[in-house]
Each structure stands twice: as structure tokens, then as C-alpha cells.
């Protein structure tokens, strides 16, 4: 397949290695990747703040950027949810509704794409560390992705996968919520970060770079051992 990479705005600017890891894994599996440089942002910050006219403008643009792509894959549960679940709602009863629904049918989150679309759980990766998985809320509840990342991790050589006591509890990022209600956001990071750190893991695997930003921010400030790593980065660590 020719996969059109959907690189969220802050992955582009702040964690490019995640995007590169996605491409590495897909190419290793024999697919080609393209990056349409016209893409910028999915519009989620405006959408979540209630400024839907502004979000709509960004959405319409994003849809046209990905027009004609065979399949669109992104390493972020929240951004993929924005495109797949919320674009059709945002553009309901507008001339762009059909295009939004069409794009939604071809857009996937990275882990879900590997397992459900490509039928692959073993990508030949090796990652000799103790890890736990953090379920990002958009991926979990909007896209219903829960088992797929775990199946992929279980197939990684030399990995030890453990569950924390609250895998489904929110990290507290929530986009602008993290700075509009910082005290609540931090309390949530404390609860989730604490739970994840108690597994005594080396790495916390996530499918959502925005969760990573929040968790790493708290873990680092509070001098906890683990750091986050994106699922794609784990899977891109190939065996020999």
C-alpha cells in the first residue's frame, strides 16, 4: 500500500522521531510512505475550545490535502479521532460532508492500522526493557483501540509487558485543558503518572504524543524513573 503519513502538528515540530519511526516500520513491512507537506494541523485545539467555525476552516483544508490518498495513517489517537470521528460531525450539512466521510473511512491510527488493516502483530522488533502501556483516551474511547497495541508489544522480542493498576485513567492533558485548568491537569498526571511509575517499568509506551508530553512533563519534574516512548519507536527497534 501507499500510506499517506498524517503527522500531527506537534509531532512535526517537537517529536519528529515518532513520525520517522512510523515510516520505518511501514516500509519494513513492504509498504511505501508519502508525506504530503501541505498538512499542518487537524484543528483539534479550536474544536475542543468550541470555536467550530475556525476548526471547520482547518478541517476543510486538511481534507483537501489528503484527497485521493489510498490510506492515511497517523501516530496519534487524538488527531486520528478528530479526523475520523469529528470531521464528519463538524462538516455535517455542508458541501464537504461527503469528502469528510470518505476521508474518515480511510484514516487509521498506527497500531490499529498494523493489526486490523494489515493483519500484522509481529513486525520483527526487539526491545529488551520492562514496559507498561498507557491507554490514551481518544484512542481508547473514540477509536476503540485497546488490544491492538498490546498485541503488537507482546510480539516484541525480549520485552516485558506489565499492566499498571489504572491503564484507562486519563493522563490529564486534554489539549488546552492542561493550561486552562492546570491544577486539575497536574493532579490527574500525578494519579496516572504515579500508577504507571509503580510498575517499576523502564518505559511507558503510548500511542498518543500529547499524552507523552503531559506524562513526561510530570515524571521529569517529579524525578520518577520511567519516561514515555511511542509505540512506533518501540516497533522500529528491529531485531538484528
Amino acid at each position: 500500500m501507499n500510506v499517506s503519513l498524517f503527522i500531527p502538528c506537534f509531532v512535526d515540530q517537537m517529536s519528529p522521531q515518532v513520525g520517522l519511526a512510523v515510516a520505518r516500520v511501514l516500509e519494513r513491512l513492504g509498504h511505501t510512505c508519502e508525506f504530503r507537506s501541505g498538512q499542518t494541523c487537524c484543528g483539534q485545539p479550536s474544536f475542543n475550545s468550541g470555536y467550530w467555525d475556525e476548526a471547520r476552516a482547518v478541517a476543510i483544508r486538511a481534507i483537501s490535502v489528503f484527497a485521493g490518498a489510498e490510506v492515511v495513517v497517523g501516530p496519534s489517537g487524538s488527531c486520528v479521532a478528530m479526523m475520523r470521528v469529528f470531521y464528519p460531525q463538524l462538516l455535517k450539512d455542508t458541501p464537504h460532508e461527503t469528502a469528510a466521510l470518505d476521508l474518515a473511512s480511510r484514516t487509521f491510527e498506527f497500531g490499529e492500522f498494523l493489526v486490523k488493516q494489515l493483519g500484522v502483530t509481529d513486525v520483527g522488533a526487539r526491545f529488551p526493557y520492562r514496559v507498561t502501556y498507557h491507554d490514551g483516551c481518544h484512542g481508547l474511547r473514540e477509536l476503540r483501540v485497546k488490544d491492538e497495541p498490546r498485541q503488537l508489544l507482546e510480539a516484541v522480542r525480549d520485552i516485558t509487558l506489565v499492566e499498571c493498576d489504572e491503564p484507562e485513567s486519563c493522563c490529564g492533558f486534554g489539549g488546552l485543558f492542561s493550561v486552562k485548568f492546570p491544577m486539575i491537569s497536574t493532579a490527574m498526571a500525578e494519579v496516572k503518572g504515579g500508577s504507571l511509575a509503580r510498575t517499576d517499568c523502564d518505559f511507558i509506551v503510548s500511542s498518543d504524543p500529547s499524552c507523552q508530553l503531559q506524562l513526561d512533563g510530570w515524571l521529569s519534574r517529579n524525578r520518577k524513573k520511567p519516561r514515555t516512548i511511542h509505540l512506533a519507536e518501540v516497533l522500529a527497534g528491529f531485531d538484528a
Partner: protein, 491 residues
């Protein structure tokens, strides 16, 4: 034994937990939230209390052959009732009055309070006993009764404790979940003169003994209602303690208060709704007492109230009804499941919301009940994790309604600063070259920006670190790789 004792000894009125003026609600929320999250002991205590609930809830859910389909059945039962209120309210009215019940309609809180005060006055009430009723909290009924010189005793153990503390309920199913047993022991010592004890059993027995004579002496009993059954004209009340049963059995006059949205069409809808209410709300198979009342005592029955009154309350429910997008928030059966799973609720506590209905469903409906402009911050104070929507037994689209409230607020009372910010972002996001340039500038100056303590950035940095900026963006790296080689990245 006087029923006035518990309430007149406290000075607090329900309004103490609410902001002095509506437009101050947001400021109070932010202040209270900040204070509350610092109280880690309290947060841990509440979290521990909920831990047992999660386990028992999961056990009960697994007894359902298909919990998800049962949720469909429950949501359909409420959807079909709420969307036919025009037909079902009159049907309920006809059947309830045929049973001998007296129905009263109240457009708003004030009218409901007036009706109840008149009924209490007409009954020449000397003692009033009450069972748990969130709608009565909504209309501040107790304060109105006390102002008129009537002592009201809350018979539900948790509500009784809250009444003595001068606090409203912390959670609509577990009113005193934040209170430790030592505090309850001190409270009972102060108001009831009992010896200190560390045993929940003994504390419960103290309340039991205190209440018994009050039930016998009361001439008016006030309850709420969980469901109004249109088919038979019965009201259904769910409880564990038996205090509502006693409140509706012994006093001469029974007054029930309910929102108009509690109607269900068929009696057998309860066969689905009652077990689900118990499971989602308390992790129980079935709540201890589920009771249907048709009206006052019938001929041939040896006891029971001589009069039964039901006050049906609108108080802006018809405004929510008129919004087809959010009409399903009226399906709420007040189980409290959404509160139990909400990380916001668990971290800020029930009082921070500053209004009767807390948690996710409270954040959805409060702007409708009390004004969007003043209360939209409740919809904003959420990461939209969606745990509430997953937990709701009647499938209310809770977290998406919070999004919709935000949209409605942005449309009716937009913030100038935010509008400019989002419009600027559209301009940048529509121009990849400008986006790339903006990103490059941000990465280059991140160190400086951190030091400058810009708003938003400084709110983040107060409690969390930010990673160092990478040298190159993804698009730059990609362009570089693609220019030098066409071969796959894996090499």
C-alpha cells in the same frame, strides 16, 4: 424529641458552597479546585472509597449476559419516554390521580417551594421527616422550610451527617463519602450527646436509634422519586436504608418531589432499569428497597398516609427538552456512575462544582439550568476523556455534550482573546510555509520563552517540564532523507 435540634444548631445555609454572584462562579471554581487538589489526603481517601465500588460494579456487570445490549434497552426505554412526554405526562397524571394521588405542577423552584410550604402549612405539620431527594437540593427546600419555622430532619444516614455538618451532599448517591468515621463520631457527640466510637456499625446504630422516634412522630414525610410510571400512575423510589419506606409509611401526609423528565412508559421498564441503576450506581445487584407507590392508603389497608402529593417540577427541564442535541441528558437516572469514574470529580471533589449537580452530568446540565455564560467553565473543566459516557447505563453522550456546551458558549459569548488566537491559528495552519516558519521560531526560542513566563506556558511550567526542542522538524528531516535517497528508511 425535637426535630428542630439538628438543623437549628448549624449556621450554614446551602448558599455557602455557591459563589456569591453568578458571574463569580468560575473564579470560585478555579480557587476551590486549586485548594482541593492540594489536599492529597482527601483525594486519596475518596479514591480508596471508590476502589471497592469499581470491583463490585465489575462483578455485577459480568452477571449480565450482555451489559452493552442492556444499556441499549435502558437508553431506548428513556429515549422513548422523554420524547413522548407530551403523551406520557398526561397519562401519568390521569392514572396517578385515579389512584387518589394529588398532582401539583411547578414551573420553577420558587413555585415548587411555595406549593410544598402550603401543603405543609395545611397539614399543620409539627415534625417533618425527609428522605434523599436531589431535586429538593436543587430548589433549596430545606432552607425554605426552616425559614418558615419548620424543622426538617434528613433521614438518610449520609444526608443526616451532611445536615449536621451544614454541608450539601458531596455526591448524589454517597452524600458523605469524604467524611471520616472519627469526624462522624465527633459530630454525633456534639449534636446527639453520644459517646465517641470508631465503629461504622455503632455510628449507624446511633443514627438508627435517633431516627426511630422521629419517624413515629412525624406528620409529614417528604421523598423524591426515581421513576414515574405512566402506565400505572405509580412513582418508584430506590434506596438501601429503608428510610424512604418509613418516610412514606408512617407520617399522615406524603409529599413527593420529582422533575418531569423522570417518566417511563411501562411498569416492566423497571425490570431493566432497576438492576442497572444498582449496578452502575453502587456496584450492587439490586438496591435494597425498590418501592412503587400508587397514592395514599387504599380502603382495606391498615396503615399508610392519608394524603399523597406529587409535585412535578420543570425548572428549565423544558429548555433542555427543546434542545434535540442534548435532550438525552434528561434520560439521566441519577445513578452517579459518571461521577464515580470522572478524574475531575475525584480530584476536585463534589463541593468545588459549587452547584447542586456535580460531576460530568452536572457539568452538562448546569449551564442549561443556571445559564451558559456563568457556568460554561464546568464544561471546560474536562479533558473529555469519555469515561463518563462509557459508564452511563442509559448511554447519554455526556462528554460530547461538554464539547457542544463549549461550542454554544463560543457562539453566544465568545472571548475576544480566544477568538483572535484561534483565527490567527487558522491563518498559520492554512499556510504550510508560515506554519513551518512559526514552528522553527518556536523551537529556536523555546528556552527564552520558558524564562519569559508567558501565560499558558508558565501555567504548564509551574508543575511540569517541557522537553528540549529538536533541531529539525519532521518535514525538514523527511525532505532531507527523500532528497538524498529514494530507498526505504529502514536501511
Amino acid at each position: 424529641m425535637s426535630t428542630k435540634a439538628p438543623t437549628t444548631l448549624t449556621n450554614a445555609s446551602p448558599m455557602v458552597f455557591e459563589a456569591k454572584l453568578p458571574y463569580l462562579a468560575k473564579k470560585k471554581f478555579l480557587h476551590d479546585a486549586a485548594e482541593h487538589v492540594r489536599d492529597t489526603g482527601h483525594r486519596e481517601f475518596v479514591q480508596k472509597a471508590l476502589g471497592g465500588y469499581y470491583k463490585s460494579r465489575d462483578v455485577q456487570k459480568s452477571r449480565f449476559h450482555d451489559w452493552e445490549s442492556a444499556r441499549d434497552a435502558a437508553s431506548l426505554a428513556k429515549w422513548s419516554a422523554v420524547n413522548r412526554l407530551d403523551e406520557l405526562l398526561p397519562r401519568f397524571e390521569a392514572n396517578f390521580t385515579a389512584n387518589g394521588g394529588q398532582l401539583h405542577w411547578a414551573r420553577d423552584a420558587e413555585e415548587a417551594r411555595t406549593i410544598i410550604l402550603q401543603l405543609v402549612h395545611k397539614a399543620k405539620a409539627k415534625a417533618i421527616i425527609k428522605s434523599k431527594c436531589m431535586t429538593s437540593e436543587e430548589i433549596h427546600l430545606n432552607a425554605a422550610l426552616e425559614k418558615d419555622g419548620y424543622g426538617v430532619v434528613e433521614s438518610d444516614l449520609g444526608e443526616f451527617i451532611q445536615q449536621l455538618r451544614g454541608e450539601p451532599p458531596y455526591h448524589f448517591v454517597f452524600p458523605c463519602m469524604h467524611v471520616r468515621r472519627e469526624e462522624i463520631s465527633d459530630l454525633f457527640g456534639k449534636f446527639l450527646g453520644t459517646a465517641p466510637t470508631n465503629s461504622p456499625e455503632e455510628l449507624t446504630m446511633i443514627a438508627r436509634r435517633h431516627m426511630r422516634q422521629l419517624y413515629v412522630d412525624a406528620d409529614v414525610g417528604i421523598t423524591g422519586a426515581n421513576f414515574l410510571v405512566a402506565e400505572t400512575g405509580q412513582i418508584s423510589i430506590t434506596e438501601n436504608e429503608g428510610n424512604a419506606r418509613l418516610t412514606a409509611a408512617l407520617p399522615r401526609v406524603h409529599i413527593s418531589l420529582s422533575g418531569i423528565e423522570k417518566v417511563i412508559e411501562h411498569l416492566d421498564d423497571l425490570a431493566v432499569l432497576l438492576p442497572m441503576l444498582a449496578t452502575a450506581g453502587a456496584g450492587q445487584q439490586m438496591t435494597c428497597y425498590n418501592t412503587l407507590y400508587s397514592g395514599p392508603r387504599r380502603e382495606g389497608e391498615c396503615d399508610g398516609p392519608e394524603e399523597m402529593h406529587l409535585v412535578l417540577l420543570d425548572n428549565s427541564r423544558t429548555a433542555i427538552l427543546a434542545d434535540p442535541e442534548q435532550r438525552d441528558s434528561l434520560h439521566c437516572i441519577r445513578c452517579g456512575a459518571c461521577l464515580n469514574v470522572c478524574p475531575i470529580f475525584k480530584n476536585v471533589g463534589g463541593f468545588t462544582y459549587g452547584t447542586t449537580y456535580q460531576g460530568p452530568i452536572g457539568s452538562v446540565i448546569t449551564p442549561h439550568l443556571r445559564g451558559l455564560a456563568d457556568w460554561n467553565h464546568l464544561s471546560g473543566a474536562s479533558s473529555l476523556c469519555g469515561a463518563c459516557t462509557d459508564a452511563c447505563p442509559v448511554r447519554i453522550d455526556i462528554h460530547h455534550h461538554l464539547l457542544r456546551n463549549r461550542r454554544n458558549a463560543a457562539q453566544t459569548s465568545p472571548s475576544l482573546l480566544e477568538t483572535i488566537g484561534h483565527r490567527l491559528f487558522v491563518i498559520v495552519a492554512s499556510r504550510p510555509w508560515l506554519f513551518a516558519l512559526g514552528g522553527w521560531l518556536f523551537r529556536r526560542t523555546l528556552g527564552l520563552l520558558k524564562v519569559m513566563r508567558l501565560p499558558l506556558l508558565r501555567d504548564w511550567l509551574a508543575t511540569r517540564d517541557l522537553p528540549p526542542a529538536p533541531r529539525q522538524s519532521f518535514r525538514a528531516e523527511w525532505a532531507k532523507i527523500r532528497k538524498t535517497t529514494d530507498s526505504p528508511l529502514s536501511k
